[in-house]
């Protein structure tokens, strides 16, 4: 079964073709050959989606070497995201569905991050998944395909946003996540004990307090010494901040795994590329005896391969939609407590 996936929920316009365990193509407009798109594609796409979506989909089909006759269904992100952006992808997908006479499958963007793992592997269900990116920090319990229960989520900033904004406070360029990760590798993670928030309060997260505590920490350094101090200890601070964020993520994930008794865990989303998080996650998985799966970094940030593979799962479960499919900006998951 072959699925064309289309993603346009936020910054990226993307299209991909997936067929039974094999990804045939994955095109992201902002990273593609700009000449074919008639100029630079802005990083902040949104309404720019409509200018590039045609080329993006055409390129995905061409790279996969397939035609509409080969495609069995069109999967498209229905939410959560920016309404204007989602509408572009959704309307385009509907147009194709009518013209090609194929079923359409609406895909939840966060679900898709979880299923990105299945592009290369086949993790066993049930599992616990941490979705951690610039916009999301959520833990799900996945019992069987597309049966997701939310176990915890951030109450303010996403973990990736904490990295990005704290880096900005340190004088790094926004978004600073990858740079903090690089610097942290040579730093002392016990240099300063930044707060680990909500460690004893269920599986929800809070990262805005950490941001504020870094701000106060820096304010307490006399202005004249600040530059020298930051120069000497940038790596130590990056390591200490990374430790604070990753300790909380791993602690909550450990709790989620223990309380559900799963044998498999997945970390998805852009922050899963963070090396300290990966290291701690592997150590935790070893201690708990669970198999850990992290998608290839190219499938951790927004892409359409994950939309296509999730659409494939939905088709297998017989979950198709029709042309009434509507976008949604927000989504509320069924929430479960731990231990129950």
């Amino acid at each position: 079964m072959m699925i064309l996936g289309i993603e346009s929920s936020c910054d990226e316009t993307a299209a991909a073709v997936y067929s039974d365990g094999r990804l045939l193509s994955s095109v992201i407009a902002s990273q593609a050959d700009h000449v074919a798109f008639g100029g630079i594609v802005p990083e902040l796409a949104s309404r720019a989606h409509e200018r590039v979506i045609w080329h993006t989909v055409a390129q995905a089909m061409e790279k996969a070497g397939v035609t509409e006759d080969n495609v069995d269904a069109i999967a498209v992100t229905e939410g959560p995201g920016l309404m204007g952006s989602l509408l572009v992808g959704l309307c385009f997908a509907k147009g194709l569905a009518i013209q090609w006479n194929k079923p359409i499958v609406g895909v939840n963007h966060i679900d898709a991050h979880i299923y990105a793992t299945y592009i290369d592997e086949m993790p066993e269900m049930p599992f616990v998944s941490l979705v951690v990116s610039g916009g999301h920090t959520q833990i799900f319990y996945v019992e069987r395909p597309l049966q997701h229960k939310l176990m915890g989520q951030t109450r303010d900033d996403a973990a990736g946003e904490a990295f990005d904004k704290i880096g900005k406070l340190l004088g790094l360029e926004y978004p600073a996540g990858p740079e903090i990760d690089r610097l942290a590798r040579t730093g002392d993670d016990s240099f300063y004990d930044f707060p680990r928030a909500m460690m004893k309060k269920g599986l929800d997260f809070s990262f805005s307090g950490l941001k504020t505590s870094v701000l106060y920490y820096l304010q307490d350094i006399p202005k004249l010494e600040q530059e020298k101090f930051l120069k000497e200890h940038m790596a130590d601070l990056c390591a200490s901040i990374s430790a604070a964020i990753t300790d909380v993520l791993i602690h909550k994930m450990r709790q989620a795994i223990r309380s559900t008794g799963v044998k498999c865990a997945i970390i998805a989303g852009g922050v899963s590329a963070n090396s300290m998080l990966r290291e701690k996650a592997h150590k935790m998985a070893g201690e708990l005896g669970v198999s850990l799966h992290i998608p290839h970094p190219v499938y951790c940030t927004d892409n359409a391969a994950m939309i296509a593979v999730t659409g494939w799962f939905k088709m297998k479960e017989g979950m198709t939609d029709d042309l009434h499919l509507k976008p949604y900006a927000r989504h509320k998951w069924e929430k479960v407590g731990i231990g129950g």
Partner: protein
Amino acid sequence: MRTILAGERFAARLQPGDIVLLKGELGSGKTHFVKGIARFFDIAPEEVQSPTFSLIHEYVGSVRLYHIDCYRLNKPEDAYEIGLEDYIYSDGISLIEWPEKVEPLLPDNCQIVEISHISKEQRKIIIHHQV
């Protein structure tokens, strides 16, 4: 916590269609203030998360709240790309963090909330209405 209470009290004066500009440096408590506004309109404060990455969050309670964050925008025209005017000229209430980034595109009759640090435990919140 008191920032949330301040937001809740401030919300009592808001009407559908209002635009609130939230000014203040990183970590001053703008998102917390929004949590208070949300609570006033029967939206659970924990539903309110930072929209920095997603740009716009919509919350539905007794009114429709648009929580908009312009932090990632590089130039005012980017506001057109995210469809800003669809939100601010609607019947919902628009709450805009980092409005400085889109200042030239905003109408005159906005309410302005300025939050600044006095100390670690204290914030100063100045509220004024543009005319």
